[in-house]
């Protein structure tokens, strides 16, 4: 864990990413708190805090004595939430840096199109 945000948030986000990219499907069991702690070398209480946040948001649910599972509809809800934050997280800083460098709107759009054509093709 190496960015400045609290580790529990990073743990929650890692699990969210796995749900969004489909490596954790709905109704799949999520790694236990102890597994997460050992794998990421973090305190189990911190891992539990991240998991519990996802439970309280309805992304995961608890089956007593068995473990944590991905809730139905979690993927769609997470994608929706990430889309809402997309402008603030990615578009705003992009535009701020472009303005600083004097990159105009048309030039920026051209950059996106040509990047998408070359690299994006390989990613699809």
């Amino acid at each position: 864990m190496d960015d400045d945000r609290p580790i529990f948030l990073q743990i929650a986000e890692l699990i969210e990413n796995s749900i969004i990219d489909g490596s954790l499907v709905e109704e799949a069991q999520v790694p236990s708190t102890n597994e997460l702690a050992a794998f990421h070398r973090i305190n189990p209480a911190t891992a539990a805090k991240g998991v519990n946040q996802l439970v309280s948001e309805g992304t995961l649910y608890k089956r007593r004595g068995i473990g944590m599972f991905v809730a139905g509809g979690a993927r769609a809800r997470l994608r929706e939430r990430r889309r809402e934050r997309f402008t603030e997280q990615y578009v705003e800083p992009l535009l701020a840096e472009a303005r600083k460098l004097g990159i105009g709107h048309d030039e920026l759009m051209k950059m996106i199109d040509s990047f998408d054509a070359v690299v994006g093709r390989d990613l699809r």
Partner: protein, 301 residues
């Protein structure tokens, strides 16, 4: 929170030196603490008082709801691993394990021998013939296998190489997950343990400076770098811990730097914000005020 330790106004004086100055805190069960602070800050003295090996000059301490001094019922639940641990001169590693088995109710012999094998500790070797690293490995092994409800590690890493330290951290986390208990890690290698510990106790010249969640301390302080006027604008009304200059550039370390609008303000002022690691935060909070450190000097033009 169920407290296993409570300390109220603990003060310890050695002659005219005040080693601990009115220290109050509680330790919760099932929590890993980092006990941080510079050499001479009072860490070992505090652990000695909590383990009944020293008296406080004033204030009081309760461990498992009782005073620890000469209290076998309390001390059987406490393990204190320290570098200066002495053993009878004929003791081998195996003797140490035998003794530990009688001292600690939760002692796990299989776990102890597994750890000894991992650390490549020869069970038949005389303790006084162990290298510094092996002595540390022995301490760590006893501390882990004792599974004492309250375990103190006083700089357990001395002489351990990075691979052995990683082994210690991994075994500690894994065993703690299976057998939760209260662990106090006194260490200077803060970057290595910052993800392991749940709470931070920071001592500075005998006073308790921090008693906080480790996760909350991440990003509590930032460095703000930019043109002097811009950084001044950003730092106004905030607590500045430190300042460095290079020509017109200023890097200011700011405590509690990130309010709701801090990022927007920094962006508008063209000030670069970077979070401070726990280790850097501790350095800034406990470093003595410098007069002419090279980095602090105005660069002559």
């Amino acid at each position: 929170m169920t407290a296993v330790v409570t300390a109220h106004g603990v003060t310890k004086r050695f002659g005219d030196v005040t080693a601990l100055d009115d220290v109050s805190f509680a330790l919760a069960e099932h929590t890993i603490y980092g006990l941080l602070g510079r050499n001479g800050a009072g860490k070992t003295t505090l652990m000695q008082i909590l383990t009944g090996q020293a008296f406080a000059s004033s204030g009081n301490v309760s461990v498992f709801d009782a005073p620890p001094v000469e209290n076998p019922a309390v001390l059987s639940k406490v393990c204190f691993v320290r570098e200066s641990q002495r053993y009878p001169h004929f003791y081998t590693v195996r003797h140490v394990f035998h003794t530990a088995r009688r001292l600690f109710a939760n002692w796990d012999d299989t776990f102890a021998h597994g750890l000894a094998a991992d650390f490549q500790l020869p069970a038949g070797r005389l303790v006084r013939r162990l290298s510094r690293g092996m002595l540390s490995a022995l301490g760590v092994t006893v501390g882990l296998a004792a599974r004492a409800p309250l375990t103190f590690f006083d700089e357990p890493y001395l002489g351990l190489d990075p691979a052995a330290r990683q082994l210690f951290y991994d075994r500690l986390l894994a065993d703690y997950a299976e057998h939760p208990r209260t662990v106090v890690l006194s260490t200077h290698l803060i970057d290595e343990v910052s993800d392991l510990i749940e709470r931070v106790l920071l001592l500075d010249r005998g006073r308790l400076l921090l008693d906080d969640d480790a996760d909350d301390l991440r990003g509590r302080a930032v460095t703000a770098t930019g043109r002097a006027e811009a950084v001044d604008g950003f730092a106004t009304g905030r607590t500045e811990l430190h300042r460095e200059r290079m020509s017109g550039l200023v890097r200011s370390t700011i405590l509690d730097g990130l309010g709701p609008h801090a990022r927007t303000l920094a962006q508008a002022l063209n000030v670069e914000l970077e979070p401070l690691s726990l280790q850097q935060l501790v350095v800034r909070l406990t470093a003595p005020p410098t007069t002419t450190a090279p980095a602090d000097r105005e660069v002559a033009r």
